[in-house]
């Protein structure tokens, strides 16, 4: 899923300090799971902002809505009738949701309330780690199911570098060396000899390098 992190409230206040009517818009998908932008976080942010404005002696109306998703037309339509009643909308969705919202409500001020971080997994509650960089050409079949692009600081296809130490990466002693993980897994699979296969120079054209990407499935288009 997409992992996001709450923005500091001071930054959000900087965007909306001139507003008198605000909508805080949550999303019930990934940002709910990573506890950055679901219904609960919408409530927390709205309360904090109310407190801030109260201390300023200002009356600002702050509404809370959480949509099923912000990356789908049909759910974003649910606020069609109310969207223009606000001076601004703070979206707690990922960057995709914020942009889709802004596209749909073209003349409405829309601000991000979270920093979108990466594609990752919940290792335990309160701890999420990166697993995928959506490069568009999956190589997991060759690397024991562990991605060196997402998990090696130098995204080495033929690692590890000389900075692998006791299973950790040289840039951070808490970070696993992806290549140590790959080698351990190849060993567990009884396929350590695969380590010596040279991975070819990668086609990055399906990555960010190829420009904004799209997937089109004509067979399912209506």
């Amino acid at each position: 899923m997409i992992i996001a992190e709450k923005k500091p409230i001071e930054e959000i206040i900087g965007y909306i300090d001139d507003c008198e009517k605000l909508l805080i818009l949550g999303c019930n998908e990934c940002v709910t799971v990573c506890e950055a932008g679901g219904k609960k976080e919408v409530g927390v942010l709205a309360s904090a902002l109310r407190m801030y404005f109260l201390n300023q002696g200002r009356e600002v109306k702050i509404d809370e809505i959480t949509l099923e998703r912000q990356c789908d037309h049909e759910y974003l339509e649910e606020i069609r009738d109310v969207a223009d009643q606000y001076d601004a909308i703070v979206s707690l969705a990922c960057g995709v949701g914020v942009q889709f919202l802004a596209e749909k409500y073209h003349s409405q001020r829309v601000y991000p309330g979270v920093n979108t971080c990466f594609l990752g997994a919940t290792e335990e509650r309160g701890r999420w780690t990166e697993r995928c960089q959506a490069c568009g050409t999956c190589i997991l079949a060759y690397t024991g199911g562990i991605c060196p692009i997402a998990r090696c600081a130098k995204r080495l296809l033929n690692g590890p570098c000389g900075g692998s130490s006791n299973g950790k990466c040289e840039i951070n002693p808490e970070l696993d060396c992806a290549w140590q993980l790959i080698i351990d897994r190849l060993k567990a699979l009884g396929r350590l000899e695969d380590y010596e296969k040279l991975l070819e120079i990668k086609d990055w054209s399906t990555d960010r390098a190829g420009g904004p990407r799209k997937v089109v499935r004509e067979d399912i288009q209506i």
Binding site: N158, P160, G162, G163, S164, C177, L198
Partner: protein
């Protein structure tokens, strides 16, 4: 191993001499005098001089320009190139640029992570990795082709090297990793600084058991300690460095004013032992900001005078 010498360093190895290389870091400014001065100090004591490429990710005068300065003063350079800062277009372009000045040796590296340097907020590129850089320069040289398939007019003719760290983890793939670099096309290897000679010997045994020493020239890396503080720093703070406790203790037990001399002694003793290890083809002396000591090390290690090979 090919028998047409592409460089003085290559010829030295082909003729069976123990090669000696050293390295110089370019300055953090545009005055090339400092690097010329360093090269002048060591030029009669080494066969070639590596020029580092923004080592430790600290921005410096570029390796290529520094190599040209050396070349113009008659010192043979080894162009170090990292994949951190260039995509495949820039890499191929820089290889051609170096070839246009007939820079005859190149060392292919991935480069330290930028978080250690002066631009920790910068991007890294790593479009290709160090093994793929070896493959790239070999393709350009041997087949006269760009990665895109087009032919190169006057292909580069470099002697191609890579680094190896026998001490990094996991140890079990350190020999296979060398085999991979050899398969990618590395013709010479310069190793990480060696302080743990037992472990190095174990690695070299694995290298020789697979016959890799007959496919690639291995230059053993050594770095003299200037002080006990440096030994401790290398042991504790430099990733992938293996400094045994007894070496640190030996430095620490030496009075401060005698420590530089003791550091040189350790270095020379290491070279003496490395000479006895099967598969070692020479030495890479990295006297970090201490280039003036290279002549003494080379002389005392009985590697001077350098063989005449014209």
């Amino acid at each position: 191993m090919s028998d047409t010498a592409r460089s003085r360093l290559h010829r030295m190895l082909l003729e069976g001499h123990l090669a000696v290389t050293s390295e110089c870091g370019p300055p953090r400014g545009s005055d090339a005098e400092s690097i010329k001065k360093k090269a002048e100090m060591i030029k009669d004591y080494v066969d070639a001089v590596n020029i580092t490429d923004n080592q430790t990710s600290v921005t410096r005068l570029c390796s290529m320009a520094a190599c040209i300065h050396l070349k113009l003063m008659g010192v043979e350079p080894v162009l170090q190139m990292v994949t951190r800062d260039r995509n495949r277009i820039a890499i191929q372009s820089d290889i051609l640029g170096a070839a246009s000045f007939d820079i005859p040796n190149m060392l292919c590296l991935s480069g330290d992570h930028q978080s250690f340097g002066d631009c920790p907020q910068g991007q890294n590129v790593h479009d290709i990795d160090s093994m793929q850089l070896i493959q790239t320069v070999r393709l350009m040289r041997d087949e006269g082709k760009f990665l895109g398939g087009a032919e190169i007019n006057r292909p580069p003719n470099m002697f191609v090297g890579a680094a190896a760290n026998p001490f990094a983890d996991p140890f079990e793939i350190r020999v296979p990793r060398l085999a991979k670099k050899v398969a990618a096309g590395a013709e010479f290897i310069q190793t990480q600084c060696i302080y743990n000679l037992d472990k190095f010997e174990e690695w070299m045994k694995g290298v020789c058991d697979r016959g890799l020493h007959e496919k690639v020239y291995i230059l053993a890396g050594v770095t003299p300690f200037k002080s006990a503080g440096m030994a401790k720093f290398m042991k504790n703070r430099v990733p992938g460095m293996d400094v045994p406790d007894e070496v640190v203790k030996r430095m620490a037990d030496t009075p401060k004013e005698k420590q530089p001399e003791e550091g040189i002694n350790i270095c020379i003793e290491s070279i003496e032992r490395l000479k006895t290890i099967k598969g070692v083809s020479g030495f890479h002396i990295m006297a970090i900001e201490w280039e003036q000591k290279v002549p003494e090390i080379v002389e005392r290690a009985e590697l001077y005078p350098r063989p005449k090979i014209d």
